[in-house]
Symmetry: C2
């Protein structure tokens, strides 16, 4: 996510949609990059997480000279539980490590993930490296093919075909985006259904949409979002859920997943006339649009649970890299209204890779009929 | 639709959800089967329909002794345009007749639809007969296989396979429901993707859900709903749409279609806690739940457009058959609040068969590359 986006400057306070939160609090500023108080947020951990994971996170923010300083009373209003994706992902990876080892001992099979990278995008190279490292950390074999930018579609298809036929490969992932001369759709369609650990095959999506059908794989990022809700013990059934964004890889499958869990789902997108009003009805918000700080405090129903999928780089002179990452949701404002929220980074991000490992394990178990 | 449901008695007035409509009108009764005034409803016809289709429909209702009589002022408040599915379906069938004839003249090919019926359900037999008649009326060849109730799954699969291989068959339809001993999923999966005119294959549904993908076929009933909106010139883009019901054959694909048309879609279902409140936000309502008169006037935003997919038999001693058909929406109440509504019967029903013929024609054109 996010890596392909151009650098943008965005603070909550710069948005034209700024409003007072919908219950009688005096608010003078809208956090984002302009929060001045040093605040201690409670990092809550769901019931299924071990007590050892319980901790507190200290958020440092630098004062903005042009905005009034937040006083202690306002700071203490921050009450949202932080949904610690890093900790949950760690727990899931530990579980996967155990399962990989158990399978190896029992039937001598080690799950394998093949990654195909075409071209020299730095962000893609980083993602692939992270996936490889994650595989190693849980004992999954990883195979990598790195092809030059000008590789033909035919050549990529040939590599997919080899991995399709290789019994030591249980998952195949083609790192997106592909160079323009390659048709993404034909590449993704070529990946064997049984090894489509990304879950992007239309047959998988169709099964996800249909009641009584089971997809072979659930796309990693939306699966990670739902897994966070589950592990923190948040009810989904009967809740109002709003998914912001309708991409094939996050928004749409996230909406289908919430629907499968008996939420009442609305999808908000670029053509939606009143996104704020609709979002404010949600008990659960999943945002995946790639717009930094778009979802303001005023968009959020008090007590809502927020899963922020956005990973957006925004300029930050104070950061050694010159930028920092923020979500789609104005974190500081949301913390004052929501009951729980994922941070960016450290929320959904780590879950995506954990789910990729989980899908690869599932695939290996399925093909070897290992319970 | 509807045929498999048991007979029920339901008038709007018997529902516990009865409320005043949400704008200051004095309402003493809720129409349904208990309307007493003879009312003339304007049957509006969309801009793309020929003027010859413009007409008025006179609705007769008998007085109910236990309810007060509606006065003339109230009767005149009825303003909803009736969306005449019968007229639109007729127009579409005329268009198909022209296309079938043009294709036959140009390349000597006649589209063919094969229908497989298993068992002796009277309603299923009626549906199959109607489909056959509809084919004849537009010049599409129809093939029918009627198998006894105790036919094995293997035997049904054999017939599907024969039709899959038969080049004169461009569409295959297995009439549902199937007898219990036959697995619906394996039967539907066996129908060749290229002949799946019902559009129920998960690969079709997946493509329907995904942006940038095109399904080979769109399921007939939801396609008919959208076609009605299009032909009457109702905007979908940017509108709030609520789909009530999430079945694989109507609700879910209808929601996906509305989403493709850039509506902001919410799906209301049996686990939704406040269906009335959510439905009342919709500019477009598509209801497909099979609950007679469930959607009351109070559920409807003034000016909303209503597509009622429900076809529910309710007891009616005054009808020669002892029952009559009503929709999911309390028609009389809706007429006073909505700007347009499909009647039951004569709304979505005729559109479903028209869309089946359309899908069969599309299939034949595609396989012969005929524009």
């Amino acid at each position: 996510m996010g890596g392909s986006r151009s650098m943008i400057f965005a603070d909550c306070s710069s948005s034209t949609t700024a409003r007072l939160v919908p219950f009688g609090r005096s608010r003078l500023l809208c956090g984002g990059g302009a929060l001045c108080a040093r605040r201690r947020l409670h990092v809550g951990v769901g019931p299924s997480l071990p007590a050892s994971l319980r901790t507190t996170l200290t958020v440092h923010s630098s004062p903005s000279p042009s905005l009034p300083v937040m006083n202690a009373t306002m700071a203490s209003e921050a009450s949202a539980k932080v949904i610690d994706g890093k900790a949950v992902a760690k727990q899931i990876r530990d579980e996967i490590t155990g399962e990989v080892s158990r399978m190896k001992d029992a039937i001598g099979v080690v799950p394998g993930l093949a990654v195909i990278l075409v071209g020299d995008r730095k962000d893609s190279a980083t993602y692939v490296r992270n996936k490889k490292k994650a595989c190693q950390s849980v004992g999954i074999n990883s195979f990598e093919v790195h092809l030059p930018e000008d590789t033909s579609e035919q050549e990529v298809l040939k590599h997919i075909s080899v991995f399709n036929d290789d019994p030591s490969v249980h998952g195949i992932l083609v790192q997106l985006p592909l160079p323009c001369h390659i048709d993404e759709q034909s590449i993704l369609n070529a990946v064997s259904m049984e090894k489509d650990v990304d879950g992007f095959h239309p047959l998988n999506i169709g099964r996800l949409a249909m009641r009584g059908r089971e997809p072979l794989f659930i796309p990693c990022t939306p699966k990670g979002c739902i897994e966070l809700l589950h592990r923190y013990g948040f009810d989904i059934k009967g809740k109002r859920a709003v998914v912001i964004g309708r991409s094939n890889i996050v928004g749409m499958p996230a909406a289908l997943l919430l629907q499968r869990e008996d939420a009442t789902v609305s999808i908000v997108h670029s053509r939606t006339k009143n996104p704020e009003e609709i979002t404010r009805q949600a008990d659960i918000i999943i945002s995946a649009v790639g717009q930094p700080n778009m979802v303001r405090g005023s968009w959020i129903k008090p007590g809502a649970v927020i899963i922020d999928v956005g990973i957006n780089p925004v300029e930050d002179a104070k950061s050694p890299r010159g930028y920092r990452l923020v979500g789609d949701v104005c974190y500081e404002e949301a913390c004052e209204v929501a009951s729980a929220i994922t941070p960016v980074p450290g929320g959904v991000g780590p879950m995506t890779i954990a789910m990729l490992l989980s899908n690869t394990l599932t695939s290996a178990k399925r093909v070897h009929n290992f319970q």
